[in-house]
Subunit: 347 residues, 2 copies
């Protein structure tokens, strides 16, 4: 099976390197790897953040392992050339509409959360974020008002099919867990949210076994601090999901620990750590590769049908942590490579 490696910018290459070592050790020759540039690195090499050859590889591959994109050198470029367009383009071109972000406190890292230990310990949720619609992909631009003033605008929207398919992912995810789904919107202000809520309720007729609730996004941002243990599965749109999933992962401790999967309707996926490119520590061996290693485990489980290998990797990560492996973000001093070696040793 072919895995596309897209290391990208900043700490992306370092964390991907350690992850490939782990995948080699676990899967041997069952996986082949092909690498391509993406993001700021691709722009610098060839003038575009998502070159055709990279997109082709992503389409050909059975799964995509993605590092990170984002490069301050590119901040002044026009929008279509910025590194972020690469990940947005991949999500859209490949129809990766369902973003799964588990947030769970590793017992070994109870001290890493800013939340009280008893509050943090209860965190065990999955955020299901829609990735192909919302204000991310609507019409947008700069225009001039009748009064001659500059105005920026972005159209937020969802149609019923877009909501229905992500709602189903939410319900299915809840069914495989504790059976509770919380749909997050801002239906008291937004028509997009009203349609969202209406459709989620319609789809719920097919899932009588799931306890569905609705919450406004502002309240959810509070509840994720006050009592994050109340959530099992959250389903929400692209923009709210961006904010809430990052918040939830920080509640669960280091952002250096949390993986994500972005899936299409056939189960093909792109897997990436939720931390970004962290340009400030790039190339210094300070990055924590565990979020990427755990993303690879999700890849084995969801796209490559190797659940036993996924279990092995997750167990090795837990064992490495239990054995005291700590990168700087976890309060330790191990380098990126040493963290990778700790996982290899634990396998």
């Amino acid at each position: 099976m072919l895995v596309a490696l897209l290391p990208g910018d900043g700490i992306g290459p370092e964390v991907i390197e350690q992850t490939v070592r782990v995948l080699h050790a676990v899967c041997g020759d069952a996986l082949t790897f092909e690498e391509a540039p993406v993001g700021g690195a691709a722009y610098k090499a060839s003038g575009h953040p998502l070159p055709d050859a990279t997109l082709d590889l992503a389409k050909r591959a059975d799964a995509i392992l993605f590092g990170a994109v984002g490069d301050p050198d590119c901040d002044a470029l026009e929008r279509r050339l910025r590194p972020e367009q690469a990940i947005l383009g991949l999500r859209k071109e490949l129809g990766l509409f369902a973003n799964l972000r588990p947030a769970k406190l590793f017992a070994e890292l109870a001290d890493a959360s800013a939340l009280r230990p008893e509050v943090a310990a209860a965190i065990d949720m999955v955020i299901v974020r829609e990735l192909n619609g919302d204000v991310y992909f609507g019409e947008k631009g700069m225009r001039t008002t009748p009064a001659g003033r500059r105005q920026g605008y972005d159209v937020m929207s969802y149609d019923e099919d877009e909501v229905a398919r992500i709602a189903r992912v939410g319900f299915e995810t809840a069914r495989a867990r504790k059976g509770r789904l919380c749909s997050v919107d801002k239906a008291n202000v937004l028509e997009t949210s009203q349609l969202w809520r209406d459709v989620v309720i319609e789809i719920s007729a097919d899932y009588p076994d799931i306890a569905l609730s609705h919450m406004y996004v502002d309240n959810c941002a509070m509840q994720l601090v006050r009592n994050p243990g109340q959530f099992d599965v959250i389903v929400t749109g692209n923009l709210f999901g961006d904010i809430l999933s990052d918040q939830a992962s920080m509640c669960a401790g280091s952002i250096g620990m949390l993986p994500s999967a972005s899936l299409d309707s056939a189960g093909k996926g792109l897997y990436e750590p939720i931390h970004g490119s962290a340009p400030d520590i790039a190339g210094q061996g300070k990055a924590n590769p565990l979020a990427t290693i755990l993303s690879a485990a999700m890849m084995l489980r969801y796209s490559l049908n190797r659940p036993a290998d996924a279990d092995r990797i997750e167990a090795a990560v837990a064992k490495a942590l239990a054995g005291g492996a700590r990168s700087p973000d976890l309060g330790g001093a191990l380098t990126t490579a040493q963290m990778g070696e700790a996982v290899l040793a634990a396998l």
Copy 2:
């Protein structure tokens, strides 16, 4: 001076009642009060959440003390008749564009935050939220796609004048505090945010003494958990401000403690607790009136030019807390009226 009292729904009337007792005790005959219905209560009485007479009173008054709106009985009404439209209408009709939400941990309540005590203790910020624009007030509705599917849409936008005036409030607020302003946007995805960032940078030329930084909204949601003490003043748009200010207030402990001011360009304002109508505990004497009492203190300071009275009220609240006054949300058993009496006794 005339204060418009708009108690509204749920726990609104209870918390306003205690606040008026405190204002009587502190200001004597200097203030006169006139009350009008708003929100679901107004809809039930007269068919509209913001009756003309209520809007007139709000316009005539020197300041507005607002309880809360929101009533589950009204969830199925068409949007223009829902309780929330009353507060949105007041903000818009009165040009209340600048929402100031201080978030600070009361030392006496260090135990109330879900954050570790040392993380929570460092919280002392003001969130400046724009209230008259963004996706809240753009064109919105339901339409049918070319494929015949229902679609909800809402247009997000800001023009340069709208950004400039709230940016100035942000810079001025920072100048009166520690001189640090963090502007929060999503400029890597949204054109509205790009214009926001461009204009904030332009305005910063007038404030060379203020340290300006920029942060993406998803990162800010993380930083508010990880290290909320890093923020002095945050300035952001209506939607991001809705989410982040509720999150920040929960980081600071009980949402029952936090006041807010919504100001027009002349300093006239509407003052409201940031908690909502809490229909589940309405009428039971369980509501904490301190957020409303502290909102009244902001009113005396910002709109009624009675800073000494504001100081007296704030000192009395701190003293009541130090003396052990605790409503259920703070882990105690005092009723709404007993909390009001504790403040009166401390005056």
